[in-house]
Symmetry: D2
Subunit: 218 residues, 4 copies
């Protein structure tokens, strides 16, 4: 089959052109920056759990280089609670691998404003049905979280509170994983919740102990 | 609490410095490129399912811009089969949201060489136990896939075959989702498997119909 | 002759690899950003006169895109006085072209700390001979400028003062060109002096009227 | 005077925002890449002589990093012949400094298609007057160069020939500088002429010995 028919669509061609640029600039122009990394093993210091939202790409938003961030992305950057059965737990598997095999030193849960998943949750809390056989159960993980019952009627403020509360809920769920609680206790792992205000271009942060979000960047 | 104690670690400071650069270059210098996007809705054309591996960041590897790629990342870029129960299916939820709500036109499953998850699978197929309460079941999803029983003894070739086979398996699993099969059938959605050879800096591609990987970029 | 022997040296190969990346990212991936520009005419708004110093590249330092800055670079970012004879006046020719043909709206003279040209001038003012048949006369253009006779004995402070004074001298020389004085007077052209403190990573600015440099970026 | 009135114009604000991004990404995020360079001395390997044209920025076109290229830019990337009088020879001073003080190993003269300076020369050769008190004499440096008298009537081909001929002329003029001829002879300096075809996105190269331009990048 002719190669061009494999990926002839403009959006895919654009990705392939981007790959050619990446190859030229990283492999050809400055191989010293990535050669050992690409031929050896990864040693990221950070596990980042982010939303799948196309506007909040962690590598773009933090100007990361290859090798720096081990990244899980799902709808609304959720961490489910520890549930060691035989099910397929994609997020938990990635967390386990990052913490126990790669021994990252930091976990960052990165949420954001204007999150579609959280908007679906808000609608659900208002009595509307969430569309989706999978999105529904996934997002309803949050219905028990503390702030879910507090609404002010100001939809933007409510959304922000829910988004930040969901981040804290993920941090709390991380602490239910024994291998995480243990490392946090002995000081070899930190847990961080960050919220990206996409309109104001600011990052806010909290931790399991300091649960009020504060601006991290002036 | 003083802000600096929230994220004082060098790896986190580096991410915050990167964010400041992102903000200056996107929000201040060239707001025209992202303003509507950040204040409005996302309209990505592509759902990309990639590995959590820090070396294979899709935005870096394809030089993506904010808004272009809706991204799911998990260990070994796996798509589980359609399983519409009430469990927490993070990958399936993201796929459902991208396809039915955002109406992406393309799905790309992006695998890569030297994949730790696939190495764990290879070890398992060789009779070794896979470490991890979550990684084990997650990666054993693949034990029934066609090529799992074919080994040549050449470990690099075996790894490549498993990595590519896992991508095809994910494409096949995508087709078990009714909302995907239907859109593929009516021509509004394409499924693409890409394999990134990290050593040679090449992208290879296949589709559900053309299952032999071919070089996509010279 | 075989192509590779033309540019086989590593430093040149690195430039060619960078060009391949540029081509992939600009011409192939996002042609909409430059196509009209590359096939049509330039319409820069800014004439920038900068030093040849490899550390102070204006496009890198301001994250410019193709088409934004019309750039002259010489040792110590000097503008000679208006001298309309038949000599070869490279800097004056570029200024004339930018202002009268391209009709830029702003001129920026960008100097910097730790400037080798200014260090040569300081040595000359101290009674040492400046090396160089061409560098000598070029840099001695400045010996009449106001601050040349004021030294404090603090070599860093002296260097900063000379660097900033040289920028003001270039702004004053720009005003000796009739086609510039006229446009400044009628408000269609602004003259700006910027000084890049390379150690502190700050930009300072002055104008012909406001001759004390002030920090431009927090 | 309030700082904002110094540089309140959008084009200048855009440059300052770019500078803030540069500072965040280079000085704060990855200081290890530039710290020694910015606090110490430059050691570029390449002297690049390029056109002032805003579309042909050498750092953008070759993806250069700070410290790599010592750059002279003037109209049409001309090198005047060796003329050791007391005049202000900006291009010669920069060449002298790069070769004798910085001891670069390579000189690249980078010309390009669709060059306004060369179009002015073509008009002059056709009997039209070149506008400009400075542009005129500057560009008429080329009137004696070999190809100036050969026209085919095909204006694109003529322009390309003139552009490439002007590059060769600059290489020949470089050889009239004793300190260059000597280093070329003893093999410590190479002279290279590159021509950037902006429409086709290709680089072509020649040298003083191999005067027919060949494609450098596939």
């Amino acid at each position: 089959m002719p190669r061009q028919t494999l990926s002839q669509h403009p959006a895919l061609q654009r990705m392939l052109a981007g790959f050619k640029g990446f190859r030229a600039l990283y492999y050809e122009q400055r191989p010293e920056r990535i050669k050992d990394l690409m031929e050896g093993s990864q040693r990221p210091e950070v596990l980042l759990i982010a939303c799948s939202d196309s506007r909040v790409d962690p590598a773009i938003v933090t100007n990361a280089e290859p090798g720096e961030l081990f990244i899980v992305r799902n709808v609304a950057n959720l961490v489910p609670p520890y549930q060691p059965d035989d099910g397929y737990h994609g997020t938990s598997a990635a967390i386990e691998y990052a913490v126990t095999a790669l021994k990252v030193a930091h976990v960052v849960v990165l949420g954001h404003s204007n999150c579609g998943g959280i908007q679906a949750l808000a609608a659900h809390l208002d009595g509307h049905q969430v569309d989706g056989q999978f999105v529904g159960p996934w997002i309803r993980q949050l219905e028990g979280c503390r702030c879910a019952s507090e609404t002010t009627g100001d939809s933007t403020a409510d959304a922000t509170r829910l988004e930040q509360c969901a981040i804290l809920n993920s941090l709390d769920n991380l602490m239910t994983f024994p291998f995480i609680a243990e490392r946090v206790k002995d000081g070899t792992l930190t847990l961080n919740g960050w919220w990206f205000d996409m309109t104001e271009a600011r990052l806010w942060g909290a931790t399991p102990e300091h649960r009020t979000f504060q601006v991290l960047t002036d």
